[in-house]
């Protein structure tokens, strides 16, 4: 996986106090982190700050897994 996936994993693990090893590329973001849609929106904003990218809402609508999220970030870095 890309460097952004590793950074993403570390950030999510720290933010939601979960073990980084449970974050897999094919894992469902909501389920793995146990978050709702509002928390996910907050997380997206933090990730945008971290990676200095802007991902429009319409694109996030289709992103369910960490791998897809990481790919969306990579496409903009």
């Amino acid at each position: 996986m890309s460097a952004s996936f590793d950074r993403l994993t570390q950030l999510c693990a720290k933010r939601y106090s979960v073990d980084a090893s449970i974050i897999k590329a094919e894992g469902d973001i909501f389920e793995t982190l146990g978050i709702d849609s509002f928390q996910a929106a907050e997380l997206m904003s933090e990730l945008e700050m971290e990676f200095d990218v802007e991902i429009p809402d319409y694109e996030l609508q289709d992103i369910k897994t960490f791998g897809a999220l990481s790919a969306a970030i990579d496409a903009r870095i």
Binding site: D28, F30, E31, S37, F38, A41, E42, M44, S45, E54, P56, D57, Y58, E59, Q61
Partner: protein, 571 residues
């Protein structure tokens, strides 16, 4: 006050206002902290006429359908008004549906034109490049050099002049899909009379002044925002504000930046605002907190009979400032709202108008008139609307039937469904309720097998069953809304359940079957997931053609104790 009696159609009602309020700001479009644009009424008229001319350049005629699949943004409004002025019938399609669902609706209503954003059009082309063969597609905001396939640019100049097309009250203004991404699509045929009647009634109850601003964040394709976030502000000279990112921090920032006075919300967003206010209150030191608590009590006492926004705003300035400082009317629609949430905001001097409505009745059937505030009911029928409880039981609870000028004409191309739903001019809502001595309606459950999510989506359990096709070891299954089997006193937290019948002839591992059920359930969008299951070894009652008799099965299940019969699913 809105007086629309002599106006023949929605397009002309808004057109009159565009002439009257020429220099007022009509529309502001924000994207995060940026402002994409702002348009006066005069400029809005020019934009909508340009699009109407573009439609007419491509052979669009009065009575043709113009579907719109867009998030809330300025071009939704230009397309909507342009479509009306070209004599069109609008088909607002939910931009949050999946592309196959959107295409299924388009296949049902066969629009002459579809307007959509580039990102959606790109997905539609990937999904099925042959879809929409008979439809002219206008694509907004396509990048330079993008491959649009058969799509045309929304921004292209029209080849001819615009001619205003007149419609009558009885003509269909919109086809609005209340559900039906599988099974029988339910496209509600709503006339110009339906909309104008509803706008006049709501305009009297909740006027919006010329210098006020409506924050349109519920999807405009939804009946509520179409009414209160699109046509009504424009009929009354107010401004509509769009925010293209609906993340909570941008919603809160826009409330302040644009001094929003009116907003319609679903409870999930209302809860987020509540959480934010509670966090702010919890951060206060003891003395300021005591002062705020005292101010809340004083406000509660002084506004017990009727809201007084000016007084509340003065008493509770820091809290009102958190919501922009100008907010005075919140409409909570699309679903049923937790009374504690509504009480929380009322105590802070921000009345939340709760009501009850169906797309089939244009928008609103009853509203809480706030005089005095009662959070336990969905209010009294609005002017012109009759509400009756039919087949009431000994507690006075029965099916809610409604009649009035806002009841739809019927469902598109579904005469049988229309006949079942509208009986002698009365709309059967499928909801159970009772009316108290003061005329307030309380909802008590559903007589229809469906749920409404917090986000306002109608979910029909039958539409979900295909996700569990061929479940190993399962002979047959049936999904129900729990509230349909066991009507409760509340419409909050509605749940779907699945009834499973293991194959009696095989040595079925029920745990494995349930594990597979859980795995497939997780793949569904959260609002379509089942929350529990029942294992039943008896055959399901069926018709001669082996279709499950759902109502009979529900009746049999009703005899069970819900708490012990339903096993919760960890999703």
């Amino acid at each position: 006050m809105l007086t629309l009696n002599r106006i023949p159609c929605v397009g002309e009602a808004v057109r009159d206002a565009l002439v009257t309020f020429k220099t007022n700001t009509a529309l502001i479009e924000a994207d995060r902290h940026r402002e994409n644009g702002r348009w006066t009424y005069r400029e809005l008229k020019q934009e909508a006429e340009r699009f109407a001319a573009l439609l007419q350049s491509h052979g669009f005629e009065a009575g043709d359908r113009c579907a719109i699949v867009m998030q809330n943004q300025s071009k939704w409004i230009f397309s909507g008004l342009g479509g009306f002025w070209a004599g069109g019938v609008l088909v607002p399609i939910d931009y949050k549906l999946t592309v196959p669902e959107q295409l299924a609706i388009a296949a049902h209503c066969k629009p002459k034109v579809l307007v959509t954003e580039y990102s959606t059009w790109a997905k539609m082309q990937r999904e099925d490049s042959s879809a929409l063969e008979q439809t002219i597609v206008f694509v907004t905001e396509a990048p330079e050099g993008a491959d649009l396939g058969k799509g045309l640019r929304f921004e292209d100049a029209p080849s001819g002049a615009f001619t205003l097309k007149h419609r009558t009250r009885d003509d269909v203004a919109c086809v609005v899909y209340s559900s039906g991404t599988s099974g029988t699509p339910k496209g509600c045929l709503l006339t110009h009379d339906n909309y104008l009647e509803q706008a006049q009634v709501l305009g009297r109850l909740y006027p919006i002044a010329e210098d006020e601003r409506f924050f349109s964040i519920l999807p405009t394709n939804h009946a509520i925002d179409f009414m209160v976030g699109f046509i009504m502000p424009l009929m009354m000279g107010a401004a509509i504000v769009h925010q293209r990112s609906l993340r909570p921090q941008f919603i809160r920032a826009s409330l302040k930046q644009y001094e929003i006075t009116h907003i319609a919300l679903v409870p999930t967003i209302l809860k987020n605002l509540e959480k934010r206010i509670r966090e702010r209150l919890d951060d206060l030191d003891e003395t300021p907190r005591q002062l705020v608590d005292s101010a809340i009590k004083v406000n509660d006492f002084l506004t017990a009979k009727e809201p007084n926004h000016t007084l509340s705003k003065w008493l509770l300035k820091p809290i009102h400032d958190e919501l922009g400082g100008k907010l005075k009317n919140v409409f909570a629609g699309g679903t049923f709202v937790d009374r504690k949430l509504v009480e929380f905001f009322y105590e802070l001097g921000i009345p939340v108008a709760i009501g009850y409505g169906l797309t089939e009745a244009t928008t609103v059937i009853t509203v809480n008139d706030l005089k005095p505030f009662r959070s336990t009911t969905v209010g009294k029928p609005v002017d012109g609307m009759q509400v009756e409880i039919r087949n009431a039981n000994e507690e006075g609870v029965g099916e809610v039937w409604v009649k009035g000028r806002t009841v739809m004409k019927g469902y598109l191309d579904a005469p049988e469904l229309t006949e079942e739903t509208i009986v002698d001019g009365w709309l059967r809502t499928g909801d159970l309720g009772s009316i108290d001595i003061s005329g307030h309606l309380s909802l008590r459950g559903r007589s229809k097998n469906m749920i409404v999510t917090e986000g306002g989506k109608n979910i029909y359990p039958e539409d979900i069953e295909s996700a569990f096709d061929d479940l190993p070891g399962c002979e047959e299954l049936c999904v129900f809304a729990a509230n349909y089997i066991w009507p409760s006193q509340s419409m909050l937290g509605e749940q779907l359940i699945v009834v499973l019948r293991p194959d009696n002839d095989a040595d079925v591992d029920v745990d494995a079957m349930v594990a597979e059920l859980v795995a497939r359930n997780r793949k569904l969008p959260d609002f379509k997931r089942v929350g529990g299951y029942i294992v039943r070894n008896d055959e399901f009652p069926a018709t001669a053609s082996l279709k499950i008799k759902r109502n009979v099965l529900a009746e049999e299940l009703r005899a069970l104790d819900r708490a012990s019969a339903v096993i919760a699913l960890d999703s």
